[in-house]
Subunit: 484 residues, 2 copies
Amino acid sequence: MLLPMAPTDSLFLLGESREHPMHVGGLAVFTPPEGASAADVRAMFDAALLGDQVATPFRKRARRSLTSLGQWGWDTLPHHEVDLEHHVRRDALPQPAGMTELMTLVSRLHGTLLDRSRPLWEMHLIEGLADGRYAIYTKIHHALADGASSMRLLRESMSEDPHRQNMPAPWQPHHRLTVVPAPTGGTDTQGGSTLPGLATLPGLATLPGLAWGAARAAVGEVAGLVPAAVETVDRARRGTGGALSLTAPHTLFNVPISGARHVAARSFPLERIRLLAKHADATINDIVLTMCAGTLRAYLHTRDALPDNPLIAMVPVSLRAPDTGTGDRTPGGNRVGVLMCNLATHLPDPAHRLETVRNCMNEGKAALQAMSPAQVLAMSALGAAPLGVEMFLGRRGPLRPPFNVVISNVAGPRTPLYWNGARLDTLYPLSIPTTGQALNITCTSSDDQIVFGLTGCRRTVPDLHPMLDHLDAELDLLETAVGL
Amino acid sequence: MLLPMAPTDSLFLLGESREHPMHVGGLAVFTPPEGASAADVRAMFDAALLGDQVATPFRKRARRSLTSLGQWGWDTLPHHEVDLEHHVRRDALPQPAGMTELMTLVSRLHGTLLDRSRPLWEMHLIEGLADGRYAIYTKIHHALADGASSMRLLRESMSEDPHRQNMPAPWQPHHRLTVVPAPTGGTDTQGGSTLPGLATLPGLATLPGLAWGAARAAVGEVAGLVPAAVETVDRARRGTGGALSLTAPHTLFNVPISGARHVAARSFPLERIRLLAKHADATINDIVLTMCAGTLRAYLHTRDALPDNPLIAMVPVSLRAPDTGTGDRTPGGNRVGVLMCNLATHLPDPAHRLETVRNCMNEGKAALQAMSPAQVLAMSALGAAPLGVEMFLGRRGPLRPPFNVVISNVAGPRTPLYWNGARLDTLYPLSIPTTGQALNITCTSSDDQIVFGLTGCRRTVPDLHPMLDHLDAELDLLETAVGL
């Protein structure tokens, strides 16, 4: 039976092309249990592959037919029709292998399209890391799950108990094995999160879809919207950013893209950033944004491509209502708004950049709070619409992009997680560049670190590695600036 | 500067989709030189990657623009703009690895699309075979090179001299290092080949393109064509096959396909097949076709899907004129015609199947010889047209396919070849399944063996491995049948 698909989800199928694969990805790196090796971890997955049960989300196939009048819907395949050999794949790294070789492989895997005649996911079991760890790259189509849902699927297949055994593989049906806190919502002004500096949200890639839905949802309140919108646009014109910006310069990131991808990632101790935020009277998210700001400035400057005007980042923030900050995941509670943040890339002093970012985010949040949730969503839809339209029509980007880069922060697990004793060390998020937005920065936090995941079009943003070093350098500079 | 692309070549770009990647592939397996290891072979390639020179065919990029009025053309990139890291990739096999693991990886690599914003090729250096050998999978878009051209590129980068050193990598410019005989033309009736049983030709995948050109070329002779065509069609209707067939039954191979691929291959000693051909008063090609016939019968029978009527194979044959059988490759000398061969899959006795195949091929060749070359090409175009139209329009196949499977034989190197001392053991050909033709069988011969390469749509022909065992069994049965 064909179950209906949300129109916003089907947009991710309709808008997909070889230049714009529409899947999100995650790279998980595991340390084998005490006394075991990567080969033992692989053996556990091999054993799981012999099972014939597949969890429902991994059996859903997108389909449209004459009887559905050409609309996309979901089939749920019987267990035995899921070709696990196709979905779960063994990969290996050329020797000797470190993170460079791993990222090279993942870059390639992230750039190829999923097979639409099957459930829209792949899981790659990757062996060969010289340090004895084991890696898993997962790829899920955005029509099936957004970044946050993917992360939830992963989290639910894991345990906080390092001694727990006989756990099913992520694609197998499982009952909740342990009470793992679901990601709490709340922007950093609400204090509902143990990572108060982070804007928790369901992943960047949800935005265009949500924006569409938001535009519809806001129709009833649209009369009250105009004054707020005008005020915000006005602030944007004054060059201070705010919820909506019209002043983003043209950069090398804002061009049409091709299909191949390049990914890079680096993690930093969360404590280091938390301390810096405290000294600077800023949020963790402000520090993350300022690190990105300095990195983009240095990257463009090296290439003689730094525009005179500051770059504008689109920053997704959670719109969870304050009274549901209990950790419950109520349907529809996971709505996302966007702020436009002035990254002050024209300023040479890191302290000045931090000040601009902090003020801009505070102003933007104040503006968001002055609006009703529906107004905020409509506002966000307004800001994101050019992205959506370009992406889905496959058109060349406008001469003046609505913003230069998306920087988002997805809350990861907040306690160490294990799968049959193997510890999840790091989870690297990989997202979706689009036409006009050739670079995406997605950050994930875990119990003790924060990972910056960069996903770029391999052609237009050819070398992401220098950005990792710039991130390092920017953190140092900021620490020096606040006297740490 | 945009150089024009032949319209037949641009069809391979226009007709491509995620379900129909239009590239050919080859898997070469090398034995390292005496005293060296696979790691040494890889080190030689790594060294070659440091060079910045790229041979012209590997710098050609397909492009179309407003100024070219939307027509596809070729750019030749400067050397430094070719991102070799993108094109030449290091891969590894999960351990322990044999041919199964190698074929699994190659199946996946063969099912993904090439990046159109770059020159249309990839080369994968694959390490990890337990027997110490080294594998290279090459993927070239059909618009850039057909199977035979790809094989020529490979051959020209190699030497007959096992002691030759300092040879450039296949993608690097090179002068002809040694006089390697180019593939000679000639159908097996012409005796111009050292493998007289093989129909040498430029690879199946050329056919639709050539058929198109042929249809145009034949316009001048079309008046004289009709009687020959009528006679051939008449013979086909009588069920004996011939140059054109209208009686192919519907089978599980003749359905729409999806994007993922499955490849499998097996090699047999050429001497064994040569001896069998001699005893059976048949050609090597007849034996190859009869082995395929028995294999298809057994495969379909096991699945309870054997049709009552015999399967029809489309068999490409070379149309090289007899007076150019010198081994010279004159432009345009590489034209291909097709015969339709009745595979007699309804007959339980292998000897009867061989008799039918042999008679059918002889009749077909006689019919081809009675026609002028242009008439033959037009005839072939007529036979192949339904394939071409379906493929390029992406439509569902007709209820009654023009034939059930393509079986082609591409002449490979006839002497042992070496690259910097590493011996090319086997070259596995991979081809292009299309809508309505979910299975392709391409054979390549080398100095002492013949390889059957099966390329199938992973969804519609889920398990190719049983076919390999059937090929084994059929060869045994045929030997028994002729008293060997």
